[in-house]
Symmetry: C2
Subunit: 164 residues, 2 copies
DNA sequence: CGACTAGGTTCGTTCAATGAACCACAGGGG
DNA sequence: CCCCTGTGGTTCATTGAACGAACCTAGTCG
């Protein structure tokens, strides 16, 4: 990971996880992938990240099997999709403790219920996988003007590819 | 966070979270805090981290309220303790997908049941807070020889301060 | 053909991570 | 009293990753 020295000496599966998703930008790339971003240039404009870094991260994520490269699209694998609960909990933690206005919230498409902090649907009483969720813009959303941000401002189902 | 440029432009509470816990070493420091590590020198020897970086991270975590400095001890706040589900899920993800042998597993002290991937006790059917969990060494634990690793090899309750 | 776009790579600069050395203070012993 | 040790840091030169601008290549449109 990040510097010459990795986390090899740590006896913890957490350290293994951080070697894969612990670098700068990596989790934001994965988040965008859940939002339906698939193309290099879309990640680029939405994240405002150096091209070289994006290239390196996408390749690393493809190498470890979080993403798979399909033509010019980078798509989440099953392994990647299972990061959803982690992303969701981290975002909820920030909202609860960093006075971050929720910029997005998520609704269970099947029943229309907003899911709780633990990722479960209160009505259905079970975990909802990301493909059954619809993202809605919340009060804390800043009005950015790049094409990807504009598209992501209207409600959309997670993992559904966006069209720029 | 990491470089001059932070995640300020991102409209996402995830980005806010990563500004606090997304830097190199930070989540491993928080993990050790759950394991009962509290002293500067104990973090130092267990993480094998440069002193300057450890100093900077502990101060940053105290500034944001994840830890509180009590004399020479760094202790998790309520806000910090609520990171437990995130850490636990990330570690389970690594075990499931990175062929990482579990180095530790966690048992609900009250009923003796090993908790599931989502952090719930199968017997009690509810979320178990970290202070009610006991950490046990698993099959994947490497035999490191520093004093902190030796202590952490025997079962111990989370958040219970270790004695070197 | 020429212009334009998507998807990168190259490379010089900047800035954080590293690790070794140094500093300050608090006991404890002689 | 001075010396020694342990704890909890800070300072600083070096290294390597992130940055950002420029460049490259393949495909497409007119």
């Amino acid at each position: 990971m990040a510097l010459g020295k990795d986390y090899a000496e740590q006896d913890c599966s957490l350290a293994r996880a951080l070697e894969v998703v612990g670098e700068r930008w990596t989790l934001l790339i994965v988040r965008d992938a859940f939002y339906g971003v698939r193309r290099f240039s879309d990640f680029l404009v939405h994240l405002d990240i150096p091209r070289a870094v994006l290239s390196a991260r996408l390749q690393a994520l493809a190498d470890t099997g979080v993403l798979v490269k399909d033509g010019h699209d980078y798509v989440l694998t099953e392994m990647g999709k299972e990061l959803w609960p982690v992303l969701h909990m981290l975002a909820r933690w920030a909202e609860d403790h960093l006075s971050a206005e929720p910029s997005r919230f998520f609704v269970h498409t099947a029943c229309g219920t907003r899911i709780g902090p633990d990722g479960t649907c209160a009505a259905c009483r079970r975990r909802v996988p990301p493909e059954d969720l619809e993202a809605h813009a919340g009060s804390g959303l800043r009005r950015r003007s790049d094409p990807v941000s504009v598209i992501l401002r209207s409600p959309h189902r997670l993992l559904e590819p966006i069209r720029t």
